[in-house]
């Protein structure tokens, strides 16, 4: 039984599984970009037909990155990372401490990178030369050994920890995204100039979310370049809490407003009529003149309320149009589009009145993305450490060099050897350059 458990743990901790999971995540991500994600059902039915649609739908291919099996792959990767790291970390820590050369000076010539020269100078006199020549490998520590002097150079120890820093960062990023999806929310608000709201429409569904504060749009501005391309979208807003103004800001793209962990991002805008001056002409009788505010009820006659419910800057190429709805006491509400520039249009009629728009003033509605993501700081921390960890792992190398000076017949015998944890080309060049310098010193005459 214990044997079996061990083999399962071995399998979960294997790097083979890591590479397999990486390949599976890559392959499923490819599928996710080939099948358009989160489109309406009807579109998929048309694209794939009912048979394939059902198959794809069963495997969650239309929202692949949130499907159970994609999440399972990520969870397995996390588990694999944790077990791999925990199992290998002690070995890495041991390697970091490993500086003394256990085998004794005679074993130094067994290294791939080594050099042995008989020199004229005495061992003690060579010490400064050794310090200088191998200084690139770290700070030397000298000791006495077997009647000679042994210098140990070591640097870049931290590189041994690099992989663990990277793996921990990946786990932090996964954790951060998990926290964000559990405790955060993403939504949208649309506010007209002068209006105030505390209700956010959530992206996940139909229900809204009531914020503990409200946001009022004072002014929305859009600026254009001469080319016609937009240069700035700006919402000047005020945040109110318990009836008091607690913050104000200009929200532009790339510069959101954050209040109490909730951020507002400039996202879209549309033009609306602020006020509309209407002329309602009955079949017979005196025309009624009205000033209607956008989406607010206005009484036309006792028992008949009217609202401007929508606006188009250009309706089917007939120019601006306002949508009017009337709400009679009895009977269904009904309405019509009224063309502003075509007062004679036969459709400009509501509830028996012929309607003309005498004038209107426009304003803007600003669309703001609303997001609260308490996990984002964990993610940013993970982002920072993954870069530091990658640098440690791949661009630092745990270099160890030992130089042994032993009295020779007249002068000294110098033996140097070294090893590294990564970047062999770099290490071997440095070592061979140092060896050449040593070999260039004055030799012991035979």
């Amino acid at each position: 039984m214990a044997e079996k458990d061990k083999s399962l743990l071995d399998r979960v901790a294997s790097v083979k599984l890591t590479v397999l999971l990486i390949a599976l995540l890559a392959a499923s991500s490819v599928i996710g970009t080939l099948v358009q994600q989160n489109q309406p059902k009807g579109l998929y039915l048309k694209q794939f037909g009912p048979g394939l649609f059902k198959l794809f739908d069963t495997f969650g291919l239309f929202d692949l990155y949130h499907s159970w099996w994609f999440r399972l792959l990520i969870a397995l990767l996390a588990l694999n990372l944790i077990i791999c790291s925990v199992r290998r970390l002690p070995k890495a820590l041991k390697l970091m401490r490993l500086e003394e050369f256990a085998g004794g000076p005679s074993k130094l010539t067994k290294f791939k990178n080594h050099v042995q020269v008989k020199l004229k100078a005495a061992p003690e006199d060579l010490k400064p030369e050794v310090d200088k020549t191998f200084g690139w490998a770290g700070r030397p520590r000298w000791g006495e050994l077997e009647g000679g002097h042994l210098a140990t150079f070591s640097s870049g120890k931290a590189s041994r920890l690099g992989p663990y820093v990277v793996h921990l960062s990946v786990l932090l990023i996964i954790l951060g995204s998990l926290i964000g999806s559990i405790f955060g929310f993403k939504g949208f608000v649309q506010i007209a100039e002068g209006e105030e709201t505390s209700r956010v429409m959530l992206n996940t569904g139909k229900e809204g979310l009531e914020l503990p504060f409200s946001i009022r749009l004072d002014k929305f501005t859009v600026k254009f370049y001469d080319t016609g391309a937009p240069s700035e979208f700006r919402s000047d807003v005020v945040v109110k809490e318990n009836g008091k103004q607690v913050a104000s800001a200009s929200i532009v793209v790339n510069d959101p407003l954050t209040y109490r962990g909730v951020s507002f991002y400039q996202s879209s805008y549309s033009a609306i009529p602020k006020t509309v001056d209407l002329k309602l002409i009955p079949k017979d009788g005196v025309p009624i003149l009205l000033k209607a505010r956008y989406r607010e009820p206005v009484e036309v006659e006792p028992g008949l309320v009217m609202r401007v419910v929508d606006f188009k800057e250009n309706l089917s190429n007939f120019g601006p149009a306002v949508a009017l709805m009337v709400f009679p006491k009895e009977g269904e509400p009904h309405g019509s589009w009224i063309l502003v520039k075509h007062p004679g249009f036969h459709g400009n009629r509501v509830h028996g009145y012929r309607v003309e728009v005498a004038s209107y003033t426009t304003g803007y509605v600003s669309g703001l993305q609303v997001a609260s993501d308490p996990g984002v700081w964990i993610i940013y921390f993970g982002f920072t450490t993954i870069i530091i960890g990658s640098y440690m792992a791949f661009f630092m190398s745990h270099v160890r060099v030992w130089v042994f000076l032993k009295p020779g017949k007249k002068g000294a015998v110098l033996t140097a050897a070294g090893t590294y944890s990564s970047n062999p080309i770099g290490f071997e060049r440095m070592f061979s350059e140092a060896a050449a310098l040593i070999e260039g010193l004055e030799r012991e005459s035979e």
Partner: protein
Amino acid sequence: MTSSLILSVVTFLYLGAALAYLIHVIFRWELAGKAGFFGLVLTVAAQTGAIILRWVESYRLGIGHAPLSNLYESLVFGSWAIGAIYIWVEMKYRHRALGVFPAFCAFLAMAYASFDKDMLRHIQPLVPALKSNWLIAHVIACFLGYAGFTISCGIAILYLLRAGKKESSSSGIIPGNLVLEELVYQTVLFGHLLLTVGIVTGSIWANSAWGTYWSWDPKETWSLITWLIYLALLHARIVRGWRGSKIAVISILGFASMLFTFFGVNFLLSGLHSYAS
């Protein structure tokens, strides 16, 4: 605009450098290799000047911004990155025979930028979403990374061409298989670190612009796929001990994925990165 004129000339200079390197490798002619290297240094210097000039020109137009904002400018910077990083690799490792592929890729990028008829080459003002310093960091990091992958792919191709033959066929001009293999790996390490920085800075930019650091948009996803392919290469080599042809093949696969991330997604898939097309 003077910068455009210089950049057109730079295109042909890259071709010249690529041909010189090719002659160097085929005819084992030392002088052609030197001509390739110094030609490349001259080209990158001229291109650096042109990029700075374009930056200055944008300020003269009153719409000043770093020249990293559309497909044209990113291709110019991409080819610059390939040239500059290859020069660094050649100076560091002292092998002259590896220049053919990077110089030719830099030429192709510049030729596409300079001569495609649908390319918008004039300086455009920045739309609101692109007004961010994270964008500058994002583009620079990504293209430096891409340059690393390009050079790696070139060495990987050379390795595979050479792998069938005996080591003795080495003329002294093309480095030995062990060195080639190591260089494939070292350049991937560089590319992968820079791609990591690129994805991270892009993610932070997305969060400040749209309130979401990752939205599985096709470009994001393909950059992740590329990242994962090279990640698999690193783990296979470091922990599983894969060497040689296998590593070379993954490097070429990663390069193909990188090309798809940059070009394929723009033309075949739709998403947030429509600025770059």
